[in-house]
Every structure is written in structure tokens, then in C-alpha cells.
């Protein structure tokens, strides 16, 4: 969870950085310094892993000589090392698999944030309203955020999908989806 928050802030800030040196990027097309946020993320993850490992009791038993501690510590150290090498690579103009194709690209934070909001709304509402209502809202909201303008048609499609999946998977195949407020009606 915490990792994701860091990633989220990393992305948001990465966007700012990319926007800020949009012109600079045109002049020096080889370097994508937003990648340094990835290094920061890896380093923070390393801290989280090591802090947690330090908390673990370092006991060992006859059936487990090393205990649960060494693996996270090794991972933490490797995370720092990779973060450092990644930073060097980024500073020297290194790129990912896409050859840095998305380096100067517009990053639409607003749409991403709205889509996340729709997603979180589903997570908050699913147990109370049930899958049919919250899932329909998820589909409808996501389609609108991603640019659909046929509000009623989309809503109809969403409700049909919600009902179909509930009857097909929850009742038909025994998948654990909540009925929520519609308990007894469906």
C-alpha cells in the first residue's frame, strides 16, 4: 500500500518534471530525468524492507538455521544498489525498452486521478451497495472518464453487465460477489 502511494506521488511529480523541462527535453533529447523518480521509489522501498526486517526477531531454530531475516535484508541492499546504478544509467542518458519513447510525452494526470477516484469509489461502496450497483457505477464512471459521451447508453450497458456478471458468476458459478443492499431482491 505504502509502496503504491510512493509510486503515485512519483508519477505525479514525474509529470511535473516532464512538463517543466518539456522544452529542455527537446534540446537534449537523450536524457529522461523523470526516471530518477523510479530510483527514489526503489530506494524508499529498500528502506521499508530493511526497517521491517530489522524488527523481525533474529532467532533461529534447529529446523531453520537462518530464519526469516536474511532474505529481506539482502533484498533491501540489492534495492539500494539497483537504485544507484539506475540513477547513473538515467544520468548517462539510458532508456527503457521503449527507447525513451514516452519521455517528453504529455501525461494526463487529471484523467488518471479521476479514473483512480472511480476505482476507489467502487472499493468503498462494494460491500454496502453490492456488486451490481457499485460495479455498474465503476463501468459507467470509467467509460465517462475515458471519454464516452453517451451517458444513458453507457449506463444501460453498465447495468446489464452488472446484472449479467452477478447472475452468471455469483449465482451460476458460486463466485463470492456481494449482493449488498439488494440482498433479497436479486
Amino acid at each position: 500500500m505504502t509502496g503504491a502511494e510512493h509510486e503515485a506521488t512519483a508519477n505525479g511529480a514525474a509529470e511535473d518534471a516532464a512538463a517543466a523541462d518539456g522544452d529542455a527535453a527537446a534540446a537534449v533529447p537523450k536524457r529522461d530525468l523523470a526516471q530518477l523518480w523510479v530510483c527514489a521509489f526503489l530506494a524508499v522501498l529498500g528502506v521499508l524492507v530493511i526497517v521491517d526486517a530489522a524488527r523481525l526477531g533474529g532467532f533461529s531454530a534447529s529446523n531453520d538455521p537462518i530464519g526469516p531475516k536474511p532474505v529481506p535484508i539482502i533484498l533491501g541492499v540489492l534495492l539500494f544498489a539497483v537504485a544507484a546504478f539506475y540513477a547513473i544509467d538515467a544520468l548517462r542518458g539510458g532508456h527503457g525498452e521503449d527507447g525513451g519513447a514516452h519521455a517528453g510525452e504529455r501525461f494526463d494526470v487529471r484523467t488518471v486521478a479521476l479514473l483512480c477516484a472511480v476505482f476507489v469509489a467502487n472499493a468503498l461502496l462494494i460491500d454496502w451497495l453490492g456488486w451490481v450497483i457499485s460495479g455498474s457505477l465503476l463501468f459507467w464512471g470509467a467509460a465517462i472518464v475515458l471519454g464516452s459521451r453517451r451517458y444513458f447508453l453507457t449506463l444501460a450497458a453498465a447495468v446489464v453487465l452488472g446484472l449479467a456478471t452477478f447472475y452468471g458468476f455469483a449465482i451460476g458459478l458460486g463466485l463470492g460477489l456481494p449482493a449488498g443492499v439488494l440482498q433479497g431482491i436479486l
Partner: protein, 503 residues
């Protein structure tokens, strides 16, 4: 002969109307999801895994077999018509395939890809029938230290050999290993990296990781680039091949299959290298060299066959050693585990019927795909015309449904979103996804083997090294690790020599 009899039993098990229907559903869903850009077979299986909880294991695996081959058919269609490789293994297909489509030969490109996939799939599955039992015989003598060494090899190789940037591969791998560490330690029962959240005690389900990184990540990535232009879909004509196309295709199909299978069967051999090798080979052997770069049919036929054969090859280490080397195999392994089945050398003894039904299912699914897809490709292409808002709203809808169903807790949805954001970041920075997925599933297994080896040696670190097999494997790891260093030294030497020559 024993194996052939078991295989025949497998066919007998699959040839019931109910099981054939399940196989049909599998190939259909596989093709559909495989066609959607950025998703692919691993995600299709991950999404369907919760739905199959109510099924018999055999039926679930018949379906997975169908999805596995269906997804590869779907992937090649997208590569040829959209000019976007769905996964790194179809990068080479795009080179000639999209050119062919632009020249109005899209139908021929799709046909040679489909028939080539069938030929390669059949050859590779036959090879699988013979090679897997041999691997099992070899694997049965291996102990914990050897397993640990092979797993480390698989991890290091996925991170460094595949993809273009080692450092990004390792970053992805480490994130995956950390995700795999979350939860209660199996030996001591201590909670690791849960930070007091009881929902994390059981760890993060591989389904949630795969669906989050692939599906939710792709949806967020589409949202982030909403105003960055549109994909262009090239229209297809009729899907057929003339006599000339057949004559130019069959050689590449066979050579592609021969190249692909061994690479797939070796831990972390991957599909990238054989597809590329196949492309280079066909270009060298072709009588139509000038067509290469402008849409040569050999350049589609060979790499597509290599791709399929290598995918089937990855089932060898998966079934015989319990070692997943691509994302699809990782998710399938997770599926085995949810049914309480542990892949590995003992699988063929304990779950013989299940394994042979799965393999028979691969043959049946492969044949179904050929019959279905040749006439139906134009219908499938319509799937690519679904407007993006609906497509990704639907993907988020099904992703949420699947993740919620893994445990029945809304908490899974937050984890799903967190991993989606992670996937978004990885797409933005061109970090490969595969090492992370393999790390999540293989990391905890490797740790268990390491601790078991140390238990056997009483805590002495020499227990990790074990016998000659482990030594050999560590030697290979050393070569992989030192290769870039050697190249660097060589490049320096060449540069110095040039400098001397110039001076």
C-alpha cells in the same frame, strides 16, 4: 509407450461434449483477450482463475490450455493489424506483418501466422510429450541446493537476458521479490512487510499482481495518454493463402518451430531470441531478400512459429520442475497451487491424469483455433474497433470482479489499484513486466529451497552449493553476469586498438 497410452487416456477424457465446450470457451476467451493490446494470455488466465474455483481442476486446466494457445493467435493478429506488438515476443512479427497488411496482404499475413502457429503448436506439443518425461527423470534426482541454483538462474536470466536494459530488468525483479516476501513467513510464522495490516498476512495473490500490473496498469496508461493520437487499424481482406504463399511459408514454419521449442524449454530462454533468430535465418535463406523490410511472408511465418513453439516449450520446466519462466506459466503455476497441486517431478506420478488431459487439451485447443480462426478473423478484428472507453471500462470492471473474488474483501481492490499504478509507472519508463511477475512467484519458492538446503547442512553456507549440477548452474549464472563486463573490455580493447591505429 506408457506416455502415449497416458496421452490417449487424456484425449479420451477431453473428448466429451462438456469438456470440448470448455475448451471452446477457453480458446475464444484467449483469442479475445490476446487481441486486446497490452493484455495477453497471462492476464486472461489470471482473470479467469477466480471464476474456475467452482470447476473441477481438470476442466479448469482444459480451459487454461485453450486460453494459452488462443492468446497467442490473438496476439499475432494485433501485431499485424495494429502495428503494436502486444508483447515483446511479437516485436519481430510486426516488422513484416504490418508492412504486408499495408500492402493489402493482411489476409495472407494473418493466414500464415495462424497456420504457422498451428504447425508450431502441434510440433512443440509433440516435443513436449517426449521431452517432459525425460526432464522429470533428470529432475527426480535433484535436491534442494540444485533447485535453489536453478531458480536463481531463472530469476537472473529473466531479469538480464530478456529485454534491452539489465538494470531495469533487475529493478522489476526486485520489486517482484519484495511483493513475494509480503505475508506470513512459511517456516517461522512471522509476518513480514505487512506493516500491521492483517489483510496482508496471507500475502498478495499472484492473480492480483498480474491483473493489477497488466490490466489496470494498461487502463491507467490509456488514460494518461488519452490525447496522444489514435491507433490505426488496417482493413483485412479474405484470410487465405495462394500456392506461392504456401511454398514460401512451410520452410519457415518448420525452422521456426525447431528454433523456438528448445529456447522455451530452457529456463528463461524466452521467445525474443528465437523469434529474432528465425527472422534473421529466413532473411538469409530467402529467395526474395528484397522483399524483407517491405512485407515478406517468410518474416511473418518463421517468427510466429518460433513464438508459439517457444511458448509451448516453457511448459516443460513448468510441469517437470515447477519452474515458471514466463508470465503465463507463472499464473498457471499459481493456478496449480490453488488446487493444492505442486508442479514438479512428482506431478506426473501423482496427478498423471490431470497432466495428460492438460496436454491433450493443448492439442485439441490448437486444432480448434485453426478451424475457428481462419474463417473468423474478420469477425475478431471487429473487437479492435470497440471504442477505448468501453473496452477499458470493461477491463477495469472484470479486473475488479476477479480481484474481489480472490478473497471477498474490498482490501484486494486497493492492492489492485496500487499494482495498477506500479504498472503505469513501469509502462511510462519502459521497465519490463515479466521479471516482476516471475519474481513474485519464484522468489518465495527459491527462499524455501535455500532454507531447506541450509537446514540439511545445519546452517553451513556450503550447503547452498551442493553437487555438480548446482556448480554447473552457478557457472552459467556467472557467465550471464559477467557477459556485459567481457563485452565492455572487448569494446575498450577495440577502441584502444583503433586509437593506436589512428595515432
Amino acid at each position: 509407450m506408457d506416455n502415449l497410452n497416458s496421452l490417449l487416456d487424456g484425449f479420451a477424457a477431453i473428448l466429451t461434449p462438456g469438456n470440448l465446450l470448455i475448451a471452446l470457451i477457453g480458446v475464444t476467451i484467449g483469442t479475445a483477450v490476446g487481441m486486446l493490446p497490452g493484455l495477453g494470455t497471462a492476464m486472461a488466465i489470471a482473470l479467469l482463475l477466480p471464476i474456475t474455483y467452482g470447476m473441477e481442476p481438470t476442466q479448469a486446466f482444459i480451459m487454461f490450455g485453450g486460453i494459452f494457445y488462443g492468446g497467442m493467435y490473438g496476439g499475432s493478429t494485433t501485431a499485424i493489424l495494429l502495428n503494436t506488438p502486444g508483447q515483446s515476443s511479437s516485436v519481430v512479427t510486426v516488422l513484416e506483418g504490418f508492412k504486408m497488411a499495408k500492402n493489402g496482404r493482411g489476409g495472407q499475413a494473418l493466414a500464415t501466422a495462424a497456420i504457422g502457429s498451428f504447425v508450431a503448436g502441434t510440433i512443440a506439443t509433440v516435443a513436449l510429450v517426449f521431452v517432459t518425461p525425460i526432464t522429470v527423470d533428470f529432475a527426480i534426482g535433484l535436491g534442494a541446493p540444485e533447485y535453489f541454483a536453478i531458480m536463481v538462474l531463472a530469476l537472473v536470466a529473466t531479469a538480464s537476458v530478456l529485454g534491452s536494459s539489465r538494470i531495469r530488468g533487475f529493478a522489476s525483479l526486485l520489486v517482484g521479490l519484495v511483493i513475494g516476501t509480503i505475508g506470513i513467513d512459511a517456516v517461522t510464522g512471522q509476518q513480514r512487510l505487512t506493516y500491521g495490516m492483517p489483510e496482508l498476512a496471507n500475502g498478495i495473490d499472484i492473480v492480483v499482481v498480474a491483473v493489477g500490473a497488466f490490466a489496470v496498469g494498461e487502463a491507467l496508461w490509456t488514460a494518461a495518454r488519452r490525447r496522444n493520437g489514435k491507433d490505426e487499424i488496417v482493413p483485412v481482406g479474405r484470410v487465405w493463402m495462394g500456392r506461392g504463399d504456401w511454398r514460401r511459408s512451410w520452410g519457415p514454419w518448420l525452422r521456426g518451430s525447431a528454433l523456438g521449442f528448445p529456447f522455451g524449454a530452457v529456463p528463461a530462454g524466452g521467445a525474443e531470441v528465437p523469434t529474432f533468430l528465425s527472422y534473421v535465418t529466413e532473411r538469409r535463406l530467402s529467395k526474395h531478400k528484397s522483399e524483407f523490410g517491405n512485407g515478406a511472408i517468410e518474416g511473418v511465418a518463421g517468427p510466429e512459429a518460433a513464438n508459439n513453439a517457444s511458448a509451448a516449450g516453457t511448459l516443460v520446466p513448468m510441469l517437470a520442475l515447477g519452474l515458471p519462466c514466463n508470465a503465463t506459466a507463472a499464473v498457471m503455476l499459481a493456478a496449480f497451487q490453488t488446487y493444492g497441486i505442486q508442479p514438479g517431478p512428482l506431478l506426473f506420478e501423482q496427478e498423471s491424469a490431470l497432466v495428460w488431459t492438460l496436454i491433450a487439451g493443448l492439442f485439441v485447443g490448437n486444432a480448434m483455433l485453426l478451424v475457428l480462426n481462419m474463417p473468423l478473423i474478420p469477425v475478431w478484428v471487429k473487437l479492435l474497433r470497440i471504442p477505448k472507453p468501453y473496452l477499458f471500462a470493461g477491463i477495469l470492471f472484470f479486473a475488479s470482479m476477479g480481484a474481489y473474488a480472490t478473497s471477498g474483501q474490498a482490501f484486494e481492490l486497493y492492492v489492485l489499484l496500487a499494482l495498477g499504478l506500479l504498472g503505469l509507472g513501469m509502462r511510462r519508463f519502459g521497465i519490463p513486466m515479466l521479471p516482476m511477475i516471475v519474481g513474485v512467484i519464484l522468489g518465495p519458492m527459491a527462499e524455501r529451497q535455500a532454507r531447506m538446503s541450509l537446514q540439511l547442512s545445519g546452517g553451513d553456507l556450503s550447503g547452498l552449493v551442493g553437487g555438480p549440477v548446482a556448480w554447473t548452474v552457478y557457472g552459467i549464472i556467472a557467465v550471464i553476469a559477467l557477459w556485459p563486463l567481457a563485452m565492455l573490455v572487448r569494446r575498450r580493447a577495440v577502441r584502444d586498438r583503433e586509437a593506436v591505429a589512428a595515432g
